[in-house]
Amino acid sequence: MATIAFTINNKATSVDVEPGTPLLWVVREHLKLTGTKFGCGSGLCGACTVHLNGKAVRSCQTQMSEAAGKRITTIEGLSPTSSHPLQKAWIAEQVPQCGYCQSGQIMQAAELLSKVKTPSREQIVAHMDGNICRCGTYPRIVRAIQRASQEG
């Protein structure tokens, strides 16, 4: 066990866990920020995507030792009022169905928009291809990212 300190959604936090514990379980079960989801445990689906110092990472593949001292943002911290341009666009385009993968989709998309203001369709697809949506909301995700990049 080790005490590991980090910042999550702009709040300084520390937890006592094994350093090899995946960030995902600390976020979900220790800190009860359950918006971040578990899908595969192997970095294959993207449901657990969060930002580590502004970069999208798979939290199931990120050990707590790597999170020490870093700035973590989860879906709950993306915008204090759920008004990030992507969140507004996701509602306008009625993207979610079961909704389970959408936190990861939005966090992945947020990284893209932070780097590229108005991404092309090809850039969107290349950036989002690691995130699975079993309900098949992909066409709406593309439209929502395009909308956010225009209205954001």
Binding site: V17, W25, K32, Q97, C98, D129, N131, R134, G136, P139
Partner: protein, 737 residues
């Protein structure tokens, strides 16, 4: 470490477990036997107008949704139906889940009369009339009260957006104010169908701009699924799942696993090896550390190899002496084909597929000392979960309270309540609330797959080329036998789930015979989105194109001719041909068409494909789909459901495949079970034909045309017929070689 366990709690022997679980069905057989509880969802400040709706003095209208929300939008569409007849202000409506209680919340679908189930696209058709009646009844109660208060005849009153209006005097009163004095009669007023609105007067139903109520919570992380539940004092569990029913675990390294920090129990059980501990990370570490040998000597599936078994399936497909069960018969197909001027025959295959719902199976269970069992879970059938848990724990369903959560995908996987049962067994053993969470690998190992199927189709043409005889034989394990044994027994062995689609009700063919041959291999086959129609329409609609080709007829013309007696079926085919520009040639690409009815809804699809001959990869560039599902409650969501089903079916048609060796599924995660990603999605174009027919279901309607439309397009492009799902690169390459 197991010493403190009371012997009775461990009395879940394999035989007892399998027997009690198999003795139940998710269907109507359950209704009426379960004792339900009244909903606790209602605020005290207001009036409960009937079992479905309560209005608060602040004007909030709380409407209960009897179905589970798994992405199909019922948490919005069902309350919307009631709100329509109540004339409620939609902005003041709150949607909540009804408890599992089929006596009160059972639906009216002809397939599942009286059942409270979320499957087979039945929610809207099941509840369209009951919810309209409930809304009209609640409105009547309000009107009667106001008429008495204002001393005016009730016929002079009208309603709009949660207000009662007396036109003559211009008086208006909000529903919130009415319930401040309203008395709800002990015997609620009767509502006749004539009391209901004419569809042309609908104010809420059919409005594209009305959004889903669950969407805001699904973009900011606040939506709660089964996996998100935590209860005080709970411990965590993971279960290395048995690779097949009847396999017995021998744990090689139990002592080593028990030493993992945070682990309290390592328990072999009929459904697998459970590890229990104080954190999810500890139980996951322990689960992956387990080294288990499986004794499969008593497991029925142990000899099953999905590749090797094909030879036997094929023999049964051809042998005229194979015992069959009749599914759909018109005239005498055997005679017609025997006497035909020309006959055609073709065979098709489909592999097992896995639901791959994004939320791995999980449940939280608490077994209290007084015998009360609480289960927090996302399930498609609350009453089934309660009944099976009660059976396994040797109690009655009224002692089991299901706290229904959102489902992170269902697609049929969350019908069978294996996770709630396992969590409840573990909670009764460790005497603490247990949160069970499966790994993705265990979720696949415990797959309830769509069955592997083999199809033999025969057709007879007369001298003029008319189709005079049609025969379809399916060889497969039967889903009803596994998922609904009482119904399977009652129908004399017909697979209502697995054979759906073999009936050719909308093609005018004078002689038809559809029949099933039962395989018994011990696989845990279950319903998968689109059920039988998914693979059956692949076989039958591919065969229609082969017949058209043999006759030298255009496949579109052939289908228009076959559906000439059914206007709605004919109309969707015409519509999709127009959308796709059927006659327009595209260099290097081809179009393929398919038609499918599904539970009385109609669909026709066209795929535009190209094939990379070097890799065998099929690229679907465009998919057009025209549907007629009857009246549509929420058009925007209906469109979304069609897109969703098309993508689900594309994924299944092109890449999804579970292979089985020694009774065990060979795949383990998304690395070897490939589901569709964004880069493979075509342009999707949908059209809903306007209809005022009763609603007949939307959630799966986009599935059945996809695979045959692709196969038909590939055949027209390359001259090679693909006969095996999935149409993976390897299979296509082989077919083209």
């Amino acid at each position: 470490m197991n010493k403190h366990i009371n012997k009775s709690t461990l009395d879940v022997s394999r035989r007892g477990f399998v027997k009690s679980a198999a003795g139940l069905t998710f269907s109507f057989a359950l209704s009426g036997t379960l004792i339900g509880r009244a909903s606790e969802a209602f605020a005290a400040d207001g009036a409960k107008l009937n079992a479905w709706v309560t209005i608060g003095t602040d004007g909030t209208v709380t409407i209960l949704c009897p179905s589970s929300e798994m992405g199909q939008g019922v948490l919005t569409s069902l309350p919307l139906i009631l709100a329509e007849e109540l004339d409620a202000d939609w902005s003041k409506v709150k949607c909540e889940f009804a408890p599992g209680n089929p006596k009160v919340y059972g639906g009216e679908h002809k397939m599942f009369p009286g059942a409270q189930v979320t499957l087979a696209s039945v929610s809207v058709p099941s509840y369209y009339m009951p919810l309209r009646r409930a809304g009209a009844q609640a409105r009547k109660v309000l009107l009667d009260n106001v008429a008495e208060q204002w001393k005016v005849p009730v016929v002079e009153l009208s309603t709009d957006k949660s207000f009662v209006i007396h036109k003559k005097t211009g008086k208006r009163m909000s529903y919130g104010d009415v319930v401040k004095f309203a008395k709800v009669p002990a015997e609620l007023p009767k509502v006749a169908d004539g009391d209901l609105k004419a569809p042309k007067d609908f104010k809420l139903i059919g409005r594209r701009e009305i959004k889903r109520v669950d969407v805001p919570s699904k973009v900011n992380g606040t939506a709660k699924y089964g996996i998100d539940v935590q209860v005080p004092g709970m411990v965590y569990a993971s279960v290395l799942q048995t690779p097949m029913d009847g396999a017995k675990a021998e744990i090689v390294n139990a002592d080593e696993v028990k030493k993992i920090k945070g682990i309290t129990h390592v328990i072999p059980l009929p459904f697998g090896v459970a590890v229990v501990g104080d954190s999810v990370e500890a139980t996951r570490t322990a689960r992956y550390a387990l080294n288990v040998k499986w004794d499969t000597s008593a497991a029925k599936a142990a000899p099953f190899d999905s590749e090797k078994a094909k030879e036997e399936y094929a023999k049964k497909g051809q042998d005229p002496n194979t015992p069959t069960k009749e599914w759909y018969v018109v005239g005498d197909a055997d005679k017609a084909i025997a006497g035909a001027a020309k006959t055609l025959e073709a065979t098709f295959w489909s592999e097992h597929t896995y639901h791959a719902q994004m939320e791995p199976m999980n449940a939280v269970a608490q077994v209290s000392e007084d015998g009360q069992i609480d289960i927090w879970v996302g399930t498609q059938v609350q009453p089934l979960a309660a009944a099976v848990v009660a059976n396994v724990l040797k109690t009655t369903p009224d002692k089991v309270k299901i706290h229904l959560q959102l489902l992170g995908g269902g697609f049929g996987r969350r019908i069978w309540p294996d996770a709630p049962v396992q969590a409840a067994v573990l909670a009764s053993i460790v005497k603490k609330p247990v949160k069970l969470l499966l790994t993705r690998e265990d979720d696949i190992a415990a797959a309830r797959p769509r069955p592997m199927t083999h199809h033999v189709l025969k057709a007879g043409l007369d001298a003029k080329g008319n189709l005079v005889g049609w025969k379809h034989r399916i060889v497969a394990e039967n889903v009803d036998a596994v998922a609904a044994p009482p119904r399977f027994a009652a129908t004399g062995g017909k697979d209502i789930i697995g054979w759906r689609g073999m009936e050719q009700e909308y093609y005018t063919i004078p002689n038809i015979r559809a029949e099933g041959v039962r395989e018994e291999r011990g696989m845990r086959v279950h319903a998968w989105r689109g059920i039988g129609a998914g693979y059956i329409k692949f076989a039958s609609e591919s065969f229609v194109d082969e017949i058209a080709q043999a006759r030298g007829v255009d496949p579109l013309a052939m289908r228009l001719e076959l559906t000439k007696d059914h206007a709605r079926a004919n109309a969707v085919i015409k519509a999709v041909a127009e959308m796709a520009g059927w006659s327009r040639k595209r260099p290097g690409r081809a179009l393929g068409i398919a038609f499918a009815d599904y539970h009385d809804s109609f669909s026709a699809g066209v795929a535009e494909v190209s094939v990379d001959k070097a890799t065998g990869k099929i690229k679907v560039h465009n998919y057009w789909l025209a549907v007629d599902p009857g009246l549509v409650i929420q058009p925007e969501n209906a469109t979304a459901q069609l897109e969703s089903a098309i993508i689900y079916a594309l994924s299944g048609a092109l890449s999804e495949e579970l292979t089985v060796k020694g009774g065990a599924v060979q795949q383990s995660n998304f690395s070897d079970y490939h589901v569709m990603r964004m880069s493979d999605v075509p342009e999707i174009h949908t059209k809903i034909l306007v209809s005022t027919a009763s609603p007949t279901g939307m959630g799966e309607l986009g599935i059945p045309t996809v695979a045959p439309a692709i196969g038909n397009a590939v055949a027209r492009l390359t001259g090679k017929r693909l006969r095996h799902l999935p149409m993976s690169s390897e299979r296509v390459k082989k077919a083209l070689a």
